[in-house]
């Protein structure tokens, strides 16, 4: 690479960082937080004794897992205004990614809940707890331990999936890289920097995952 390319790379570091901090990270954080709430809800529906709730939850998971994320993104961004809803790119992306995370993570949370021994629920019942208290105080804290590694996978995938939002004009890391690369034709250099930024974010998350696992495993015999 020649002098000019290096200069371009150096000049791009700031804007790409801004794309990461103001685009990719908030998009990921908002989508993951909302997605987890949704996922917990869907997981509890799937475990419910009410048939209708189970069916609705299964249908939702099936749609989310059975269609491409890019298509879900386009549907929400382009199709919803047809029904009178107008969307900014950013909220559209948050809605699409939340729905996506909700579908995948619900399966993780469901299996984590099922991994908590039946005896734990029974013990909770015998000291007088009802369903909600048992879930909140006994089952979910133990399910969390099982769910952290696969949920970290979901989160790390989400960081990279948010790059799809560049296709609906959301200003995030990849979009910034494209904008700088387009007039200069330095695609390799700029996408290279973008790749490194994504990687660093994921490294930090992996580190956080290890810490979370250590903390949650503290009270379990190995």
């Amino acid at each position: 690479m020649d002098q000019g390319t290096w200069q371009l790379v150096l000049d791009s570091l700031g804007p790409l960082l801004s794309g990461t901090v103001r685009g990719t990270i908030p998009l990921t954080a908002a989508s993951f937080a909302l997605g987890l709430v949704l996922a917990l809800l869907v997981a509890l529906m799937r475990l419910s004794s009410v048939g209708v709730l189970r069916a609705v939850a299964r249908f939702y998971v099936s749609i989310i897992r059975g269609t491409p994320l890019l298509v879900q993104l386009f549907l929400i961004y382009y199709a919803l205004p047809e029904f009178g809803a107008t969307w900014d790119p950013f909220p559209s992306a948050v809605v699409a990614f939340s729905l996506n995370v909700g579908g995948y993570a619900s399966e993780v949370i469901r299996s984590a809940i099922l991994s908590v021994p039946r005896g734990q629920t029974e013990a909770a019942l015998t000291i007088g707890m009802g369903y909600a208290t048992t879930m909140r105080r006994i089952v979910l804290p133990q399910a969390a331990r099982v769910a952290v590694p696969p949920l970290s996978n979901t989160l790390i995938s989400l960081v990279k999936d948010t790059s799809l939002a560049s296709s609906i004009q959301v200003v995030e890391l990849l979009r910034k890289a494209s904008e700088i690369a387009a007039p200069t034709y330095e695609f390799f250099a700029l996408y290279g920097v973008a790749a490194i930024y994504y990687w660093v974010v994921c490294l930090v998350l992996s580190f956080a995952q290890t810490r979370a696992e250590t903390r949650l495993n503290k009270h379990v015999a190995r």
């Binding site: 734990q120 019942l125 015998t126 000291i127 208290t133 105080r137 015999a221």
Partner: protein, 280 residues
């Protein structure tokens, strides 16, 4: 929470002795079971169980595996829902039938469960909570008692099972016998009328069985009403007021331990006891 009327409970922090009362007028039994039936698919596990227990007594259920003794015990707090029959503990009576389901069943089960504490074969302590927090969970979270009062009472209970110095540890740091004793303290902490024991020593190494049985004997001496499923015949002989021998989903024989264990009427009981003594 459940509109359960209760005979006065002791108020002192040491109020963990036998909560009697609820015997009611005329010496009514504290626990009463009528016509209990239960099937799992085609298999009839309980075929009409009638039994009762007076306040302050220890009832031991024995019988071969599959006889229905654990199902009887788990029906007393609706962990197993009988197809038919009545369970009454103190002032709370629940009549089970196919018509009792959904929310009504949940409500009835919650009311019934408030009357008893349970000790499990596999302790089922909450692994993410400390020993003290395990014991305090019911009183604080479910019964809404003041935290400081619940803590003091929990410490008295842990003292009583000989584990006060383990209060800050987590269940995985304890031996099997210690875990089971914490389980007992947790069951007592909700101030139940009756304590149910589901084979509390069956999962323990032989040398740990004694410490658990000793605690259970203490409780019996203090006047707790207990229903115990066990294979420990020496415990039954020394501690039980009544022994019920179950086989094929019915109570085949019942009476004081001296009668049922030393001189059983039924050939089936005799065969079962012989095999316990001499398994080979």
């Amino acid at each position: 929470m459940s509109g359960v009327s209760r005979v006065d409970e002791p108020e002192d922090a040491d109020g963990v002795g036998g909560v009697d009362g609820a015997g009611g007028p005329g010496g009514r039994a504290l626990l009463e079971v009528r016509g209990l039936r239960k099937s799992f698919g085609d298999h009839e596990v309980l075929r009409g169980i009638d039994a009762s227990a007076a306040s302050g007594t220890v009832t031991v259920l024995i019988g071969p595996s599959g006889s229905g003794k654990t199902t009887v015990l788990r029906s007393l707090n609706a962990l197993e829902v009988p197809d038919a029959g009545t369970v009454r503990i103190g002032d709370v009576a629940v009549e089970f039938s196919p018509a009792l389901r959904g929310r009504a069943l949940q409500r009835a089960a919650t009311r019934l469960r408030a009357q008893s504490g349970m000790v499990f074969q596999s302790h089922n302590l909450f692994p993410h909570l400390s020993v003290l927090a395990n014991v305090m969970e019911g009183p604080v979270v479910v019964q809404g008692r003041p935290r400081e009062q619940a803590r003091a009472e929990a410490m008295v209970l842990l003292e009583r099972v000989g584990l006060a110095e383990k209060a800050g540890q987590h269940p995985f740091q304890l031996s099997g016998g210690q875990q089971q004793r914490v389980g007992i303290a947790r069951a007592l902490a909700i101030r139940p009328q009756i304590v149910l024991f589901d084979e509390p020593t069956s999962a323990l190494d032989p040398e740990l069985v004694g410490e658990v049985l000793a605690v259970m004997k203490d409780l019996a001496d203090q006047g707790w009403t207990m229903v115990v499923v066990t294979h420990e015949m020496r415990f039954a002989r020394r501690v039980a007021d009544r022994v019920l021998f179950l086989d094929g989903g019915v109570i085949l024989e019942q009476g004081p331990p001296a009668a049922v264990l030393e001189d059983p009427r039924e050939e089936r009981t005799r065969r079962f006891l012989r095999r316990l003594v001499d398994p080979i």
